[in-house]
Amino acid sequence: MEKSTVFNNRLLPYLLLFPQLVITVVFFYWPASQAIWQSFLREDAFGLVSEFVGFENYTGLFAQPEYYKSMLTTAIFSTLVALLSLSIALLFASQADKNLKAAGAYKTLMIWPYAVAPAVAGVLWFFMFQPSLGMLSRPLRGMGIDWNPLLNANHAMILVVMASVWKQISYNFLFFLAGLQSIPKSVIEASAIDGARPMRRFWTIVFPLLSPTTFFLLVVNIVYVFFDTFGIIDAVTGGGPAGATTTMVYKVYADGRLGGDLGGSAAQSVVLMVIVIALTAIQFRYVERKVQY
């Protein structure tokens, strides 16, 4: 009864929802359905020949050992990036939340990297760690480490993980800081009076109260590593060496844009979409239960 009085006009709620729905349809459902349709076609780059091939793009995809390799690479890469960027950002945010002298400047500096475009971030890290000329690889070599991301798969992976983490810390930092500042000081002071040390206070009071933020960031970070990191990978390693940093989204880009294989690329993006939807669903189903709002 009460709810129906809010909107007397039956059209008004739909009208208010309309702009958001249009954006979702135009920028998500429409391209996604295009991708699904295209994944059943085989086309040349110019779109002169277009043939319906059913599931051939998918069977072709799952017959490639490289595709399974890229799945494994993605699993390693996304776990590392999400874990590191979340934990480092939390560490920085909890330090910045203290009463510091130059807290403002410190916070601004922390947020800066977020304004850097992925490709620029990639080029930056590429130059710093370029094996023979990079300003950071020279000291590494001086210490006797044979730093060579051009050939060493682990070095290349470390490099793209560092660049992607560096890029994402700012965003996570911002949310963690806001989350920390919304925790009532009285709760923490009460536990301090009860004799809890800083570490114990953090893990038993602050961390659980921060869980909604952490959960939100986990979802956002997973989406970030799955979709937004190909610019960095393209600029830093180009997917190499020997495919060691070719993640699933980079393979979509490489096969579609560099290889002109639009059907195969579309099939890969459909698979990727299914995986991310499934991951997000799992997170909401199981992880969200532990969140204390």
């Binding site: 040349d44 779109g47 020949v49 050939l151 002109g260």
Partner: protein
Amino acid sequence: MALRQFGTAAAVAVSLAFAASPASAAIEIQWWHAMTGANNDVVNRLAEEFNASQSDYKVVPSYKGNYPDTMNAGIAAFRAGNAPHIMQVFEVGTATMMGATGAIKPVYQLMKDAGEPFDPKAYLPTITGYYSTSKGEMLSFPFNSSSMVMWINKDELKKAGVNDIPKTWPEVFEAAKKLKAAGHATCGFSNAWASWAHIEQFSAWHNVPIGTKANGLDGFDTVLKFNSPLHVKHLQNLVDLQKDKTYDYGGRTSTNEARFGSGECAIFLTSSGYYGTAKATAKFDFASAPMPYYPDVAGAPQNSIIGGASLWVMGGKKAEEYKGIAKFFTFLSDTGRQARLHQESGYLPITKAAYEKSIKDGFYEKNPVLQTPLKELTNKEPTENSRGLRFGNMVQMRDVWSEEIEAALAGKKTAKEALDTAVERGNAMLRTFEKTAK
């Protein structure tokens, strides 16, 4: 969709308005290219000179990003129905463009239709062969061409006690060991463009096939062949030398060319187009030499193949526009202009007459570095294995080949395994391409 229709309607309205006005302007010819820096100036100057030479046509150059970007922009524009007239495409995109019958207008056809004087024999065969059918019909117009040469740091070689510039691979390996002993701990020799150096140029230079059907020039049903014992032996040599950095891998593209300019690598294989950068950055006495070869291979060295880009004419344009494009190509082929372009920019001349003029001018006595790629290209009459190559999906295939070379150099696969996999994966890509390019 509605927006695009509106755009078309607007364009029609505007063009009608222009057609109606009596003082109709010159016919515009859109030229999309990928040239930056000094090369961009060359493009703009050519267009200006052509536009000043006559008043019927106006060539409008626009920069569209690097090679893959320009090609993708052109393809996207074609799909949207507004392709440029002329598009600059790098050599590895050749098969993709050729496969798009209907999207392009072959140059030999263009010149015939326009009635422009055109003799394919006037052009250097190793350059035009790359862009012609097996019958010798020229499909695209060569613009900027280069080849691969070995760059030498003469000062460092002298210090290391290497008195003659190495000619063969075994000599290069020996020289690299001496360089390493003389202080070049991180790099005896290296190269840019991994697959171009060790698969494509290597095969042509030794007169062995990269693939069947004359490296794909005679048909899309080509099969890759570069896992021969010679190829395996060469890669194995590199793998062995990589262990102590007598050879140090230099990546898939040109990003590590600076290792030569900085003096770190005293022997470096890369494009002859590196000349401008070398001149600007190298603070030592440098030279270019022909690529090394294995002396036990009969007939080696054969001739090298080209890299660079050519101009493709897009299909579906008006007859008078094609006439203008044909006139522009005749303008570009002029001997004096070609010789000047070559001598100023370091690009290879595309006509025989321009090469001969440069010799007569005494240009190479002062600039021997620029003659090395020409000597390589004209070393012998090209064979089936050295005319060029034409594989579909070549842009991505190069990455796949480089991936396997990297796997071998990192010790994850043997040289034989790596090349076998590269051939196998490459063949799968060729079959996909064959299905779409009918």
